[in-house]
């Protein structure tokens, strides 16, 4: 069964006809030609397909494209119009990638994670559910546990996130579309 859907991807409107079986990930890559999100495990376990849907990080491999009709999708490629997004810049500065396959998902995940922490959302390692969130290394690792890196670049990814954490909030917002 085919259906016509609309997706706003990295600020641009796309109307595509998809088989109902198409995932958001496959629609982005195969129909819209946005190769930023990567297909790793294709079962929601590795995080390399992470994108922001209506500003929240999700695994695009487990979402049917038809169910995301009319949603706003941001991939790592669309995080900034001019220059690099502060999270992307931090990844460069700290050498937070090796093969780079997981990097677009990691970058989207960091952007979503900073939003969540900024809104005061606790994590599994947060001791006091009512206390203000402090992004310690332990919190960063727990909050990034949905993104696996087979090169094990984790120490530098944590360093990149620390760099963004310590930057001024205004810089952190970056040039988000």
């Amino acid at each position: 069964m085919e259906m016509r859907i609309t997706l706003r991807v990295d600020g641009a409107q796309h109307e595509v006809t998809v088989d109902t079986r198409t995932t958001l990930l496959d629609a982005l890559r195969d129909r819209i030609g946005n190769y930023s999100p990567k297909k790793g495990c294709d079962h929601g376990q590795c995080g390399s397909c992470t994108v922001l849907v209506d500003d929240r990080r999700v695994t695009s491999c487990l979402s049917l494209a038809v169910a995301q009709d009319s949603r706003d999708v941001v991939t790592a490629a669309g995080l900034s119009d001019e220059g690099l997004h502060p999270v992307q810049q931090a990844f460069v500065d700290t050498d937070a990638f090796q093969c780079g396959y997981c990097t677009p998902g990691q970058v989207c995940s960091v952007v979503g994670m900073l939003d969540e922490a900024g809104q005061g959302a606790p994590s599994h390692v947060t001791e006091d559910l009512d206390a203000e969130v402090e992004l310690t290394d332990e919190e960063i690792r727990e909050r990034m546990s949905g993104n696996l890196c087979r090169c094990a670049a984790y120490p530098n990814i944590v360093a990149a996130i620390r760099q963004v954490r310590d930057s001024a909030p205004a810089d952190r917002e970056g040039a988000r579309p």
Binding site: G44, T59, P122, R143, G146
Partner: protein
């Protein structure tokens, strides 16, 4: 993935009508489990009824206390909700221990309840599985059973229910609200999932044409403490080997006036430790009492071959959780540092 018709009904009645009209219809919410099972060929719905945009996405205080959680409330939002964090920390803790942030942003309250076992044989369509294909046999018996049952299993199925949230709901005495063609039905959360018996393909008591629309929590008990502890093979993003949700009320004399315990990772449903609860009610809080209660509960454990390690693991987890809660409830005063007693 097998082809299917996609429907996005306007309201809950239309969703229930679609489920009633088509035997092969399944509701879709966050998709974190259903879409995965469709990719694996385990789930093959003819009609996918997308209920994710139905307005069931708020947490509302109930008249007289308590809260009603819409079935579409995302796991991430529920865990972070101020009312849940304050009044039902066991639920926040359980949700935060589950899956990954990306999945919690998609997964919903209703979908979490209806997620299916992660038994590797259930997920592998090349192997027999009574849960996936009734009558075909159980490949898990004699196979890889690290995540399998300790209580309530049968010759037909030894799978465990994977939800953390459901374990917390069982200990909270929550109620699942389901909408069917005949109207709403209320089901105690502790009775929502069922033991496998000779019909392991049925995970819950929900009828095929019923839609989970909400979960209701009773008013919180003043002075009670609760928490959830999950033991797993790695620190994050893994299913429970065993888990314990507990709720404890202790009076000024350090006597236990209310206790509820539910265990995850050990049965086809959240396992309410009724025997341990009965033994502890009215007794002074002490580590020895907690150990005695854990032993009483585990006396009837029949761990499947390969899961024997879960019995001492669950014993220690129950004791540790109760000890920590007793310390929290009494500001560290209760005689909780006593010996565990003989095993």
């Amino acid at each position: 993935m097998r082809p299917f018709r996609y429907e996005r009904p306007e309201d809950t009645d239309a969703a229930v009508a679609l489920l009633s009209e088509h035997d092969g219809a399944r509701p879709l919410a966050g998709g974190t489990n259903l879409v995965d099972l469709m990719k694996l060929g385990v789930a093959t719905p003819d009609v996918v009824v997308d209920v994710s945009r139905l307005p069931l996405d708020t947490v509302d205080p109930l008249d007289g206390g308590g809260a009603r959680i819409g079935a579409n409330v995302r796991n991430a939002d529920l865990a972070a909700h101020p009312l849940i964090r304050r009044d039902y920390p066991v639920l926040s803790r359980a949700l935060l221990s589950a899956a990954s942030p990306q999945l919690r942003n998609l997964a919903t309250t209703g979908g979490n309840l209806l997620q299916r076992t992660r038994c590797v044989y259930f997920q592998d369509v090349t192997t027999p599985c009574n849960k996936r294909e009734p009558g075909s046999g159980c490949s898990a018996i004699g196979g890889y059973t690290r995540y399998h049952a300790v209580f309530g299993h049968s010759d037909d199925c030894i799978a465990t229910h994977p939800s953390d949230m459901a374990v917390a709901l069982a200990v909270l005495d929550a109620t699942v609200v389901a909408l069917g063609p005949g109207g709403e039905r209320r089901i105690p959360a502790a009775d929502f999932h069922r033991l496998p018996g000779d019909r392991p393909h049925l995970d819950t008591v929900l009828e095929r044409d019923e839609l989970v629309v909400a979960v209701e929590l009773p008013p919180p008990v003043t002075g009670a403490v609760s928490t959830y502890r999950k033991v797993r093979d790695r620190a994050s993003f893994a299913f429970a080997l065993v888990s314990v949700a507990a709720h404890l009320e202790i009076d000024d004399d350090e006597v236990i006036t209310g206790v509820r315990i539910a265990c995850g990772g050990v049965a086809h449903k959240p396992w309410r430790a009724a025997r341990a609860e009965e033994l502890l009610t009215g007794r002074a809080a002490s580590t020895a009492a907690f150990a005695e209660a854990a032993d009483a509960e585990l006396a009837d454990a029949t761990p499947v071959e390969g899961a024997e390690f879960k019995v001492p693991l669950l014993r220690r987890t129950i004791i540790a959780v109760l000890r920590d809660l007793a310390a929290e409830a009494t500001g560290g005063r209760a005689g909780i540092t006593g010996e565990e007693g003989p095993r």
